[in-house]
């Protein structure tokens, strides 16, 4: 007979509203056999007790319905971003809050490289926090005048380089490529804006690109998830779904040591058929490669617009504070064809719609598709959905849609939204979780890792506090309760990934996937939620402690 293990804990927060709390959970064959008190476990016969968590708190493993694995590839290189991050190996990496800090970190990385020819690559730079000062060749030459230095900005569209790299790649006053920024005298300054210009340093870019697609990137992504208590994460359409890529995912995720379940959304962004019916058929066929840990063929991703902080999201009137509006990433007619094809193939479609005009197009199109082809329980999900207003949430509810809200934006860009993108009124109702709740829309919250760091606790902290990086509160009317916030990062996110029957609550029959916390979220100050230490996770009953829990 399969062995039964009972885990005891200070408190088990089940997120199952029929049985909100427990002190013991029995696991057999990776699944939850029973939840309750230790006495209540007796009904299932003999068991062994594991007291590892007797002073800890268990929650269902966090579920992230919008993340990207590419971040694992970037972690091969030093991080020089503004905000603190936890590295895949568990080290707490302090953000570089000044140019001096960027230089110091890059100098340390330079000293760590043995081969003097090897380029130094770094990532995460966000110069908007350096009050107008740029990080260009003049700055990066202070790191090295001989080794090529390449720093990828957080936005993803800009790269800063030093003189050694420009010399190596032949970038000079004669270079005509648009995006190679030059000074008044026509000399390149070491900033490359946009892909045509970034390709001027092709050899280094290609090195980075191959890191992003390596299997080590996927492993690191799993470790990041584990360190944050996330047991089910998604790759929402920004990774290739070629046979080779799928094989790599299988090798990594199905490895018993890999600490997370991964749901991969299909997209044709990196090739594949372009006929919508063929795309949908291929997407559905991927299901045959699924396993308990790797899920394919259930969801698809379509992008409608850009980002709010990049001024590329499509907004309703009166648009951005500067009077402009953003960009469409797909033609409305084409969007309808793709959505209908995926819909008819039985997939749940996750649609990137950042601005409220993009949300309008999404709602119009879902309505048309449902009229043409009614389908119960489709769960089509509006992703990001940052400026959605009450009328749009009401429509979403009537159409049977879900909303996945980018709540971390309040902390990471809230200050910019107040003064630079959309202004106070709309910034106050960005990611309007309380409105979603009131209007009856099923909703979850996401990090969009690597745009913001993966992790359920940070999302919950953002949702109940709505505090920006400089400490301002944005729209306190849109705060939600801790209970609702925890639901949104567990069972309600699982719903959008069509896995709420398998994960998302600690409940008999589901996978034994737990986030193991050192403190009870209900017992700490709301402002301390994000700092609750995560011991690690349990995945299908197997313990995966986080690395480097002692921190820096």
């Amino acid at each position: 007979m399969t062995e039964t293990t009972v885990f005891t804990a200070t408190k088990i927060i089940t997120m199952n509203d029929s049985q909100p709390e427990a002190s013991a959970v029995a696991v057999r064959g990776g699944r939850i056999l029973a939840v309750g008190s230790l006495d209540e476990m007796e009904a299932w016969g003999s068991f062994s007790i594991d007291n590892t968590f007797c002073d800890k708190v268990l929650l269902p493993g966090f579920v992230e319905a919008h993340s990207h694995s590419v971040v694992g590839g970037f972690w091969e290189y030093p991080y020089v971003g503004h905000f603190d991050r936890v590295a895949p190996d568990g080290r707490h990496i302090t953000g570089c809050r000044s140019i001096a800090a960027v230089i110091e970190r890059l100098r340390a990385a330079d000293a760590d490289l043995d081969d003097p020819e090897e380029p130094l690559i770094a990532w995460g730079l966000d110069p908007i926090y350096f009050s107008g000062e740029s990080v260009r060749a003049a700055t990066l030459d202070r790191v090295s005048t001989t080794r090529p230095v390449y720093v990828h900005h957080m936005s993803g569209h800009i790269v800063s380089v030093n003189t050694a790299l420009m010399r190596h790649e032949g970038i000079d006053a004669e270079s005509e490529t648009v995006g190679i920024v030059k000074d008044g005298s026509g000399q390149p300054v070491g900033e490359l804006q946009g892909m045509p210009a970034i390709m001027s340093v092709r050899s280094v870019f290609e090195r980075l690109w191959s890191s992003l697609n390596a299997s080590t990137a996927k492993w690191r992504f799993g470790h990041i998830a584990r360190n944050a208590g996330v047991t089910t994460a998604s790759e929402l359409g920004a990774a290739a779904v070629t046979p080779e890529a799928i094989r790599q995912w299988q090798l990594v995720v199905n490895d018993p040591a890999f600490p997370a379940r991964i749901v991969i959304a299909y997209s044709n962004r990196f090739g594949g058929p372009s006929d919508p019916a063929q795309m949908a058929a291929q997407a559905a066929r991927l299901a045959e490669h699924s396993s308990d840990k790797l899920r394919l063929g259930t969801i698809a991703k379509i992008w409608l617009d850009g980002s709010i902080q990049g001024f590329t999201a499509r907004l309703r009137w009166p648009y951005y504070l500067n009077g402009t509006n953003g960009l469409w990433y797909i033609a409305p007619e084409r969007f309808r064809e793709e959505l209908l094809a995926y819909h008819n193939a039985g997939l749940t479609v996750h649609v990137h719609a950042n601005g409220d005009e993009a949300t309008d197009l999404l709602l119009d199109t879902v309505e048309q598709v449902l009229l043409a082809s009614p389908r119960p329980d489709h769960r089509h999900t509006a992703q990001h959905n940052q400026l959605a207003s009450a009328d749009q949430f009401r429509r979403m509810a009537r159409l049977g849609m879900s909303a996945n809200m980018f709540i971390n934006h309040i902390y990471y860009w809230g200050d910019q939204h107040l003064t630079e993108t959309v202004g106070p009124e709309r910034a106050d109702r960005m990611n309007a979780l309380a409105t979603a709740k009131r209007t009856g829309v099923q909703f979850s919250m996401h990090s969009d890792e690597m745009v913001t760091p993966l992790g359920g606790l940070m999302l919950v902290w953002s949702a109940v506090n709505r505090v920006t990086a400089t400490g301002q509160v944005l729209g306190k009317q849109e705060r939600i309760s801790l209970h609702d916030a925890l639901r949104a990062v567990t069972v309600d996110a699982a719903y959008q990934l069509k896995m709420d029957h398998e994960v998302g609550t600690i409940e008999c029959g589901k996978w034994a996937d737990f986030a193991v916390l050192e403190a009870d979220p209900f017992a700490v100050d709301a402002m301390a939620l994000k700092d609750i230490p995560v011991w690690g996770v349990v995945l299908a009953g197997k313990l995966h402690p986080a690395d480097g829990r002692g921190r820096e």
Binding site: G194, I198, M199, W209, G271, L327, W328, A331, R334
Partner: protein
Amino acid sequence: MTVLGGYLGAGKTSLLNHLLRHNAGRRLAVIVNDFGSINIDVALVESQEGDTFSLANGCICCTLGDDLAMTMTALLKRTAPPEQIIIEASGVADPVRIAHYGTMPGYRLDAIVVLADAETVRQRSQDRYIGATVHHQLLGAELIVMNKVDLVSPATCQAVRQWLGIVAPGARIVEAVCGAIPLALLLDLSLDRMAVTTDVVGDRLVDHRSSYETWSFAKDGSLDGARLRALVEQLPEGILRGKGILTLSDAPTTRTIFQLVGRRWSLKQGEPWDDALPSSQVVLIGLPGSIDAAAFEQALQ
């Protein structure tokens, strides 16, 4: 590199099909968004490698791949790199942004061509969602191909042309049926291939000579640079495309390459003449009535 833009249904695919069939002897690479409706004649396909088709006439057709910049870089590394590439911008893309890729090393931006469906373009430009996108695409065009003119009345055609002139004051406008326009307008052809002639579109013969005029000029020796510049700056609106391999009096030992697309033109230093006899040759293509051969010749002599 030529960028081909325009909203969905404007006829980009017809035009690309036309190009792949009549490549004017050029080794073209056509980068498409999708193969959806491109008619790649199976009989012409010599080989297929992933998403790249090689055709018997030397052209290749491929999809965007991971990234346009990476795809374009890979094209230059082929054993027989294309002589010119044509990029089909997506229906919502800004063709000017795509044109920036034409400034990458190894490339030169040839033309930004935007198609407009004569039947629907004005209505689309009012659309709540994509109206501004359509306007922006037209505004970025150097050459607008007003397509499907056979589906509208002459009065509508005239009205659309006027409207385009207002929303895209910087563009030159030509009319087409099934995207069939002289290749010389789309591609940087050799001087001897530029003359506008006829095309077969479907089963019809289209005689472009009733819609366009070609002017050729050749002389031994050099031209006066100042006079040439003065002429080019004063060319009539109807001049659409020009090219020249010249000898200028201020640089008598090297070729000077003249390129003109719509309003944009350039003179760039070319190869030295070395042992060859310096000469000057120019071809201009324009709408009927735009070419005043006598005046042009007088200006250059």
